[in-house]
């Protein structure tokens, strides 16, 4: 044999991968131009993005922050050589009115109260929303907060919220007393009756004293003894995002217990209870919110005893609560249905009664499953609070009409809508991201 060898003895050095498959070019080839159809889509998208951005940015970047009227905006733009209808945005209106869009006509020296209320709202929500990071002791504050919140916003005497709390305390003690002697069902009924009697008949006397027919404005009771309170603010001064958030938060908080009761009623074996709950849920879900708001603005006073005339925001909150509770009930029903049947049977086999099973086994799991749904119901309700502008409340959209009617800003369109849309987007987007975070956190099953 000769020394002729056809076998390569040394390794070839590694080659770089082709330039077209790595780096920016490779990424673009794979993700943007992987075929003729994708290439067309990419080019079309780029054109759209370029067109939208170039129009929007040239309009939005405009030196009009300090202007005090639309005319001044146009002058400023004309000075820099930008003429025409869409020469540039007039941001002066936002600088001038942003505080109004946030607080409506709330007295400016009292702005600290809504600000404090919303900060405390965050504190109260923290142990609920981030249960793994915040100490559960804060839950006590969350329990008190529903009474603190309206008091901070509307002001007035401190005795009114305390009287409401007292109703719950009285109900609790009555329940304890009756439960020991006559059983839990009688206890619940007695507690509800006692609390309602306290709220409807007694609390008024304790807080305001016996009404004096000669002088309806006279104060008695605790208000006369210890007049502790902060300045009251009327509902018609409420407006802007403060109003939206107030309606949204209160309605969702109140609708949660109502929704749980409705969901349980819909799942229950009791025919009449089930029929009532199904009827209520389907009725509310079948009509638009705006008709319920019409009920709030025109009919609710007719349904109440003659002479009752309660606040329009309260009426709206009542209807929004009923509206949200029907949707909440469906969300929670989904959570209940998602629980394996073994959980119910396990509870039964332990000898727990219905309420014990619900409280200790079913609800903690069902509510945990339904939190993303609850959050999305909340997002929906928060967006729907804009509808109150149709019945004349001054939410951001209602305020935008009054701002546009102002002589100085007559003709402004996009800036205010854009601002409102941006605010809503920030709120809702943050909430939807939170619900995705929750879904990931709660997804503890198979990975």
């Amino acid at each position: 044999m000769s020394d002729l060898s056809f076998v390569r003895t040394e390794m070839l050095p590694e080659k770089e991968p082709p330039a077209s498959t790595v780096g920016a070019i490779g990424w673009a080839r794979e993700n943007l131009f992987s075929g003729w159809f994708n290439s067309i889509l990419t080019v079309v998208s780029l054109t759209v993005i370029y067109y939208v951005l170039s129009t929007l940015l040239t309009w939005a970047i405009s030196p009009t922050w300090s202007a005090t009227s639309l005319g001044e905006c146009r002058d400023i733009l004309a000075e820099v050589g930008r003429e025409g209808h869409y020469a540039g945005a007039c941001w002066g209106v936002i600088r001038d009115r942003w505080i109004q869009l946030l607080f409506g006509f709330y007295p400016s020296e009292l702005y600290w109260r809504p600000i404090l209320a919303f900060i405390l709202l965050g504190v109260a929500l923290a142990p609920v929303l981030f249960s793994d990071k915040v100490t559960p002791k804060l839950l006590w504050f969350s329990a008190v907060f529903p009474f603190l919140f309206p008091w901070l916003l509307w002001g007035g005497t401190i005795w009114a919220p305390l009287a409401v709390i007292a109703g719950f305390v009285i109900g609790w003690f009555v329940y304890k007393a009756v439960d020991a002697s006559a059983g839990s069902l009688a206890g619940i009924i007695a507690a509800v009756v006692a609390a309602v009697v306290w709220w409807m008949f007694l609390s008024g006397y304790v807080v305001n004293g016996v009404p004096n027919p000669d002088d309806p404005n006279a104060v008695g009771g605790l208000n006369a003894l210890l007049p502790i309170g902060i300045e009251a603010v009327e509902s018609r001064n409420f407006g802007g995002f403060m109003l939206s958030i107030t309606i949204g938060v209160v309605a969702i908080a109140c609708s949660l217990p109502l929704g749980i009761v409705l969901a349980l009623g819909r799942q229950s074996d009791l025919l009449i209870v089930k029929a009532l709950c199904v009827g209520f849920i389907e009725f509310i879900r079948g009509v638009p919110l705006i008709t319920l708001l019409f009920v709030a603005s025109t009919l609710l006073n007719i349904f109440m005893p003659p002479g009752t005339n309660f606040d329009i925001i309260l009426r709206v909150i009542i209807m929004a609560t009923l509206f949200a509770s029907a949707y909440m009930a469906e969300v929670i029903r989904g959570g209940l249905a998602a629980l394996p049947k073994g959980q119910y049977e396990g509870a039964d086999s332990l000898g727990l009664n219905y309420w014990q099973a619900q409280r200790l086994i079913i609800m903690p799991q069902a509510l945990k499953i339904s939190i993303p749904g609850i959050v999305s119901t909340f997002i929906g309700l928060f967006k729907d609070t804009t509808l109150v502008s149709i019945i004349g409340l001054l939410d951001p959209l209602g305020l935008s009409n009054s701002i546009r009617a102002d002589a100085a800003w007559n003709g402004i369109v996009w800036e205010i809508y854009g601002f409102i849309a941006l605010m809503f987007f920030v709120f809702c987007f943050a909430m939807s991201r939170y619900s995705m975070y929750l879904e990931r956190k709660l997804h503890t099953g198979h990975r």
């Binding site: 993700n31 006559a182 079948g286 009509v287 349904f303 502008s389 149709i390 849309a421």
Partner: protein, 462 residues
Amino acid sequence: MTTLTDPPKQAFRLSQLIYDTRYRSMTIQVIAMIGFLILIGWLISNTAQNLADLGKEPSFRFLGEPAGYDINQRLIDYNNQDTHLRAAFVGLLNTLLVAFLGCITATVLGVIIGVLRLSKNWLVARLMTVYVEMFRNVPVLLWIVFVMAILIESLPAPRAFRGDNPEATMKVFDSVAVTNRGVYVPELLFGVDARDEKGEYLDAPTGWRVGLGDLPIGASADNPACASYYATEGAMAGEPGPGCGTFQISLDLMAVLFVLIAGFYSAHRIKLRADRIQEATGERPTTWYLRLGVVVVPLLIVLYALGAYLAYPELRGFNFRGGTHMRNSLIALWLALSLYTAAFIAEIVRAGIMAISHGQTEAAAALGLRSNRIMSLVILPQALRVIIPPLISNYLNLTKNSSLAIAVGYMDITGTLMGITLNQTGRELETVLLGMLIYLTISLSISAVMNWYNNRVKLVER
């Protein structure tokens, strides 16, 4: 061995109503029922007392009184001397119109966006995500007023179309005028019997190519508007005037619809026959031209026979005349609702497609199916089952959201019955309850129809 004995029979004691689980449920139900009845009775007595104090007696007689207001966008004949009931009906039709249009466009847009969100194209997928988040997180009312503002502010006024060198021109072969007062599109009319205001023929009738005319329901010879309908001679003989009868049914349209439905039915039968042949022999006959022809050819024949023609909008004076005028309020509502709901539908479609495991596609490909057959025979039937239930609730949402028409002045049932009629008659109880009842009926009907469809799709499951 144990023997089971019945528990000792005891006399029924009253306390068993609370302590015995066999009877307790009855107690709770009776208490709930009594509580509910008390609540209802309390509300009704309050209402009766309040209405008596206001001097109002609940009655629906106002529905028969003249409405006295105009409705500018309507599907049926209406003038301000018609009754509140008819105004409400016009509003109801407007609600249904915008809901119908909105559902169709929202579905089409939503499916496209949902599929594009899953696209392998990075840029397109991101762009669609931006779209979905943008529309989902901003209130629909804001979108409606926003789109309305865009239409009013950015479109040319009708006068921009005038002159030798106009700033704006009509679109689509000079047939569609897009103005800031609305969109004018060609209208399909029948019979070569177009007449001017005096009833004279603009175009001589060509004998048999004449439309069937309108059939007034509830016409009476006493009604002066019906004089021409009962006349045997004269230019307008046999044609009911405006306001004759409760409704006028266009016989031409009925004929076209009948032919169309018959065509689709025949096409469906042809498809079923092809399916049968394929089952029996394994060969599928080519039928697409038959199925197309059986729909299109009779339609063209009947359209020609009825003398169908398009009436184009024309600029006369300060505004456009002729054609169908879709007002800005309708367009804004339609567009905004479609774009908003499409974002939700896109998410549903995406979730539905993602719910089908990739193995299904691969298995179908392994069986030798082509990609479009995989989509239509394997993926879609399964995805539809996931998609349809949430889709139903989105259709319902769109219909309910159409009540926001009141914000842009579109006269739907909220704008007529619960808007102007309420304000004019002061009958808030009757109008709002009636309005709620109507919405409830619409919602329940839509969900009944869609649930029926859902059950049909579900049957595919084995």
